[in-house]
């Protein structure tokens, strides 16, 4: 099957307008004849469900949390980009488009990204009208900050809680539709499988997390907005429940998984403090604006509890014995290099034994200079919230000693393959937000995931799904179709299997083991040899899981262990595709760094001749190698260059 991007050709500036005009429009009176399933209530899912409900479709909306308001989007801190140019610093749609393509290391589709940049402005208008309290200047106009290495100030924010405020805006819009009866909400309901009938996505199977009831849902189309998969690493900044289940189940039903190896490791997170650790906490990237990153020059000065190294207190290490490695290696950008570069360098110095923390995985982020330059009060005003959070978790005060930070898995650029209409290769299956692969290429710039989720949900899907539904016309759906019975049976069998193993290891122990393997071999720096070893390990862990996992309790009850077991089982299958994808991509680009493909100075080297494509994987069965399909990327507006931050 060749992958058709279905992007309109011609002038990119008018492409979306032309496309909207060319699409079929469903007669308003007919809209309620169509039922649409939306899985997910994050920015992407909630905005899509609310907007489609408002348009008159019949929407069934699912999430696994107890309330749609708790989707993982709530945790986003920094902000959301838009090309408003309110600061008059020469920002424009084209510049946002250009920055996003370049930031993604030239591995995203131009037309999608251009549309995203255009829509970015409507998102801010929409959010403000909903009552999202963005930061304001004294004159009453919207404030902006600069973010993630961009040269313009285009990030809108609500203190450190932008994701929360935007999600509450979408949740409120969704609540309004629930009240109006156009959207039915099903919280604590987890999608377990996709149902494909006559080649079209026509429904899902769910499990109610309190009663354990397995249910069938039929519809005219299915929308997945189920978020990203970096919890495959076990430790990540994502919420504990974030999973790959929905997208992986869709993959098993024929949808292609694109670029799974593109994962983002965020440089400023709180380091691991012990073996019991359940998740990692992100500290806003803005800290790097004033903090200086360093490690002790002499490895014996570095504290590492696990290696029984006492080290020296940071305050006792003189200037001359400190290595400000980012400033040394990147004199122009210094501490402000992009995320992937900052993360990789932290790993390099820690691997060389200079890391400071419980496990030697940490570098100092020092505000001593900032205190001198700005005064304690000013620094406190800028970062006080973050310092408080840091102290709550570590018990250390950033006012008294440097913070310790280390990179952590944060975001998945890869996801289900979709065309310009956000439709996967399975007709009738649409994928939004972090769950799709579309707009960020090999690396995502800060403050652009919120933008993409809302663009997909509020402004793209409601049009493109209408086109699909309009062409199909109203159809009969029935949960009596054989495919429903078959899918339901498989779901039930799998659950019963998990419960019957009664092994000797906890679900989490498998998840930790898998995560650690991936982190070591498919993390910040990858190489063919390690990836091959990893590809040998994953099936072994998976096999042991299915023989030796312990899942107490029953299926017909609230059973949190069972929930986790199902998710981990899917991670154990998905991880293999991730490693395969990382191994086939013999280049370094964005978040994917292959040590074999580096310049003499150790910087990433892309291979645009051979790897300027999207890798979309087709499932062939467990323990079968999936098939890779390619979508070639054409760059008509942006010139491919090598990124350099020296």
């Amino acid at each position: 099957m060749t992958l058709q991007s279905n992007a309109p050709g011609g002038d990119i500036e008018t492409a979306w307008d032309r496309h909207r005009f060319d699409m079929k429009v469903v007669n308003p009176a007919n809209k309620r004849k169509y039922t649409v399933i939306v899985v997910g209530t994050g920015l992407a899912g909630a905005s899509a469900a609310a907007t489609m409900g408002e348009l008159g479709y019949n929407v069934l909306n699912f999430c696994f949390q107890d309330s749609p308001r708790r989707a993982h989007s709530i945790a986003a801190q920094g902000g959301i980009n838009a090309a408003k140019n309110y600061q008059g610093d020469a920002d424009s749609v084209f510049r946002l488009f250009y920055d996003t393509i370049k930031g993604g290391d030239f591995r995203a589709r131009e037309e999608n990204v251009y549309r995203l940049a255009q829509i970015s402005n409507n998102i801010i208008d929409q959010a403000v009208a909903q009552g999202v309290p963005f930061a304001r200047e004294y004159g009453g106009l919207l404030g902006n900050r600069s973010f993630g290495g961009a040269l313009v100030s285009r990030t809108f924010y609500s203190q450190g809680q932008t994701g929360q405020q935007l999600l509450l805006g979408a949740y409120q819009a969704l609540s309004r539709q629930i009240q109006a009866g156009t959207v039915k909400i099903f919280p604590r309901t987890e999608m377990q499988d996709l149902v494909v009938h006559d080649g079209h996505a026509r429904g899902i199977i769910t499990r109610h997390l309190v009663t354990g009831k397995i249910e069938r849902w039929a519809a005219d189309a299915v929308v997945l907005a189920t978020g990203g998969y970096v919890n495959v690493y076990f430790l990540s900044t994502n919420a504990m429940g974030s999973n790959v289940t929905a997208t992986w189940r869709a993959t098993r039903r024929g949808a292609y998984f694109a670029n799974p190896c593109y994962t983002q490791i965020h440089p400023t997170c709180i380091p691991v403090s012990g073996g019991y650790q359940s998740k990692l906490t992100l500290m806003s990237e803005s800290l790097r604006n004033d903090g200086r990153v360093w490690v002790p020059k002499n490895a014996e000065d570095a504290w590492n509890a696990k290696a029984a190294k006492v080290g020296r207190h940071p305050g006792d290490i003189p200037e001359s014995d400190r290595d400000y490695y980012l400033e040394r290696r990147y004199p122009t950008f210094g501490n402000l290099v992009p995320r992937d570069v900052a993360s990789r360098n932290a790993k390099l110095v820690c691997d060389a034994g200079h890391g400071v923390s419980f496990e030697g995985n940490g570098v100092y982020l020092d505000f001593a200079d900032a205190y001198e330059r700005l005064g304690r009060k000013e620094v406190g005003e800028r970062y006080g919230n973050l310092f408080d959070m840091y102290q709550r978790i570590t018990g250390e005060s950033a006012y008294e000693q440097p913070m310790r930070i280390y990179p952590a898995p944060h975001y998945a650029m890869g996801g289900l393959w979709v065309d310009y209409n956000l439709q996967s290769n399975v007709p009738g299956l649409f994928v939004l937000g972090e769950a799709n692969f579309s707009d960020h290429g090999a690396n995502r710039l800060g403050a652009s995931a919120l933008m993409q989720g809302l663009s997909d949900g509020y402004f793209v899907l409601p049009y493109t799904i209408g086109h699909y539904l309009g062409i199909q016309g109203p159809r009969k759906s029935s949960t009596d179709w054989g495919e429903f019975a078959q899918a339901e049976e498989q779901v039930t069998d799998r659950i019963n299997k998990l419960l019957s193993i009664k092994g000797k290891r906890t679900v989490d122990s498998f998840h930790r083991e898998l995560g650690l393997e991936l982190w070591n071999n498919c993390g910040m720096a990858r190489n063919r040899h390690d990836l091959t070893t990893l590809l040998g390990r994953i099936p072994e862990i998976r096999a042991e899981f299915w023989e030796n996992v312990s899942v107490p309790g029953s299926a017909g009850d609230l059973n949190q262990t069972l929930e986790r077991a199902g998710r981990v089982a899917d991670f154990l299958e998905f991880a293999e595709v991730m490693a395969l994808d990382a191994r086939q991509r013999e280049e370094s680009c964005g978040g994917h760094f292959r040590v074999e493909h580096a310049t003499e100075e150790g910087e990433a080297r892309r291979d645009d001749v051979n790897f300027r494509y999207v890798a979309a994987w087709e499932y062939q069965g467990v323990d079968q190698k999936p098939t890779m399909h390619k979508e070639q990327l054409e760059f008509r507006y942006v010139k491919l260059t090598q990124r350099s931050y020296k």
Binding site: S47, E54, Q65, D66, S67, R69, R70, H72, I74, A75, Y86, N122, D125, Q126, V128, A129, G131, P133, F134, R136, E137, G139, L141, L142, S158, Q164, Q165, Y171, Q172, A173, S175, R176, Q179, I185, A239, M240, S273, G274, Y276, Q277, S278, K279, L282, F358, M389, R392, I393, T394, G395, Y458, P462, K504, T506, V507, D508, V551, P552, G553, L558, Q560
Partner: protein
Amino acid sequence: MNLTLHVWRQKGPSDVGQFQTFQATGVSKDQSFLEMLDVVNDKLELAGKDPIVFEHDCREGICGCCGFMVNGKAHGGQPETTVCQLHMRSFSDGDELIIEPWRSAAFPVVKDLMVDRSAFDRIVQAGGYVSVRTGSAQDANAIPISKEIADRAFDSAACIGCGACVASCPNASAMLFTGAKINHLGLLPQGQVERFSRVQAMTQQMDAEGFGPCSNHEECEAYCPKGIPVEVIGRMNGDLLKAQLRGRDS
């Protein structure tokens, strides 16, 4: 350190429930409270027993999933801290902890420490929004909003819907939660058109859910992990009174 935990166990909403005692051994001071429970649960799982059910997701104090009483204090009672952010360094060796779910008629226990807070969703559904159609908004800078108003609206909007206010209130009142949303939207120019119908609809729903009245004990503010101020209750009361004086019906 080693701790003794007395944890509320309840199979479902109709079960009577009782306390069960566990020993948490070898607890590290760097562990979070939930990580301490994870370890207790790991042992239960390996013994084939039902682990303690508690709700959680983000584990960084923003999703509002987590929350239970620790020694009579919602979220453990540290200033502006959710229980997922509470760390074991706040406790000492030998401590006995009583761990109970939020107790409120409007929050029936689902299992153990997990309660059903969907009443909060229904309060928002009753009117906690601005009715604006997608795509119909004017330019975001068309209406300037003073920084002070925007900041105050944000302070109210920061509520995470955890329910600690209800749990800590001797009357199990949801005035802080409801007031926060009403105040957030009621302060902004965008929320003015529906300001009075909103306060009527939302407070009616609040009553229908069975939350108690406010006696101004102010426990809610003290235990709220986001520091929502009781001022929002005053403004909500005032708005409802004004709505009545205008003789409007929603």
